[in-house]
């Protein structure tokens, strides 16, 4: 499953990032490393971008970017 398809409110773990290098690098530097826990908080009123809680902080990213992030449901 990718992050943009993750239902609002669910907790996931990052599996991998498949985007172009510059994007993957920045996402990982912001803490989206494999194994890191993430929670999809909400999407903006027009459906995009989405707000993700990453460890101790919140990050907004567009669905285009979220699509490159593979996640697994946390259970």
């Amino acid at each position: 499953m990718t992050l943009d398809k993750t239902p609002i409110g669910s907790s996931v773990r990052i599996v991998s990032i498949e985007g172009p290098d510059f994007l993957t690098l920045r996402l990982m530097e912001m803490g989206m490393v494999p194994g890191a826990p993430a929670r999809v908080i909400k999407s903006a009123p027009l459906g995009d971008p989405i707000q993700v809680c990453l460890g101790d902080y919140h990050l907004a990213l567009r669905r285009n970017e979220a699509r490159t992030i593979t996640v697994a449901m946390d259970d």
Binding site: F22, P34, P49, Q51, G55, D56
Partner: protein, 670 residues
Amino acid sequence: MSAATKTFPGSKVRPSRLPDLHQTLTVAVAGNPNTGKTSLFNTLTGLRQKVANYPGVTVESKQGQWSVATDCLVRLIDLPGLYSLEATSIDEQIARDVLLGRTSKIAQPDVVIVTVDATNLIRNLYLATQLIETGLPMVVALTMFDLAERSKLHIDVQKLSEALGVQIVPVVAKRRGGIDELGQAVLTAAAAGSRQKPGWQFSISGQNQTSSVSNLSRESWQELLTARYRWIERVVSETTHNDEAKQPNISERIDAFVTHKFLGPLILVLVMLFIFQTIFSWANLPMNLIDHVFSALGAGLRAHFPPGILTDLLVDGVIAGVGGVLVFLPQILLLFLFITLLEDSGYMARAAFLMDRLMRAFGLHGKAFVPLLSSFACAVPGIMATRTIENPKDRVATIMIAPFMSCSARLPVYTLMIAAFFSGQKVLGFISLGAVMILGMYLLGIGVAIIVAWILKHTLLNAPSPPFMMELPPYRLPNFANVAHTLLARVGVFLKQAGTVIMAISILMWVLVTFPRASATNAGSDHATQVENSYAGQGGRMIEPLITPLGFDWKIGIALISSFAARETVISTLSIVYKVGDDSGADSTSLVAAMRNAKRADGSRVWNPLVAVSLMVFFVLACQCMSTVAIVRRETNSWRWPLFMISYMLVLAYVGSFVAYQGGRLIGLG
């Protein structure tokens, strides 16, 4: 753990035994955005700071003096916020280049203070560990320490300090807590000199983590990056503990309203409405006051100085010019007060979050929303507010379209035209035609702005959109001292940079309407004759063939020329050429009557509703504001963009007026 531990005395502070060589010590404050970096910088330097641009770019450079001890002054640099040494924006590049000593223009700092947000340790330590690996003398300032304590997060500072190999000083900038300790730590680090590389290992097959990722395979840097985060997570879990289970986040609860599907946009509208109301109406009082003070000053000078060219220059050129600049101050102050509050409280990021989808449709960034909306009050502070947009091309695109937002200076022009030609008329029986016209002018500006933004983003400013990744920082109460600092800096920039250009242009405009002097026999007797014979008057006649297709005669031409400096002067100029006294305002009945009765040489009327519409369209689209030009020059750091802006907006204004006037005639209006 590493050799570095020998060079610092732990979190206990030792009195400095350092000689006076620190007179010239350069210390840089670096850290992630939203970590209280600027707040710390302001606390350390107080008012002894100056804001400038880094050479060649528009990134702001803030430097100040910090008296660490009574006899020790340090040069402090506030670097732009950065998330990593792998820079993705100009801001980050500059911070990195200064830190790594890669720029010849700014010396590499002797000591680096890294701000680390205690409430967001893991991500903050990512940059901190990168910086520690550079071996530069370093001190970590643990900010938001009080907030961490309050949320029952306990950090073993001593232990964390040992793990990282640098001294850590908890600071609470607001209360100056930890400031003396930070000073001592900086001096100690400076005396110890460069440190040995830290003890941790993130290397794979001989590759060192500090080498740029561009030399590594994708797998390698991903592995290194993950290893670094794993290491940080382990260190943080070993050095911190939470007394209670994680409490529900306050910011999340505020966000439940502020970025709610329906409430969010509503709150945004209300916030902007409040700001607008303030800028439009509350700013009026101080603006009128400034206006009156300068008029009185001019009148006073005229009364006490012998009449002559010098007095005219002083009164009509210098004083009127300076007054014309200062009159913007209340609006700029108020708008920046609000923008700083929105920024520091964390709301600005939410506004961008709400608006990003809509702005993206025009190729712009969510962060362009507030500057553009502010430009409805005045493009000058709006353009200054684009600094929050990191991507330079997005920023220039936003600056280029900001003047299309109908600003408060256009309102008097619209008001005059409507008073003269559309008053009392109704649409559908109950809506005032004037209101519809004004709304139409606002919409015209917005529509053209959207098209221009789209074209610019696909031509001159074409670039792959940088990923939209924006931290939504926790809500925080803005710090009064910080807000005051930002306001002072903004006002200083406006007065110094815009002031000089505006003064020069207003003197030029004065020359254009004053020379050549009317013949000696009636010199000074008739202001209107003087204006008609001046260079501006001659210019008006010269451009008459050009503006006839727009429905304008040469008298309107004079008004157009003089309104290049500032739109609202069109009214005083029209008053002069129609000889109704140059102190009448937009609601002047005598000016309205004079315009309605004005005749061309062939006896036909100059003005009709269609000419009024054509003129309004011209005012919507033309860049007739020297303050805007001056501020664009300052914000883009070149004359290229302001000149481009003047020219393309002039072309658009001409085409717009032409289409309005000729189109109107075709369908039988006018």
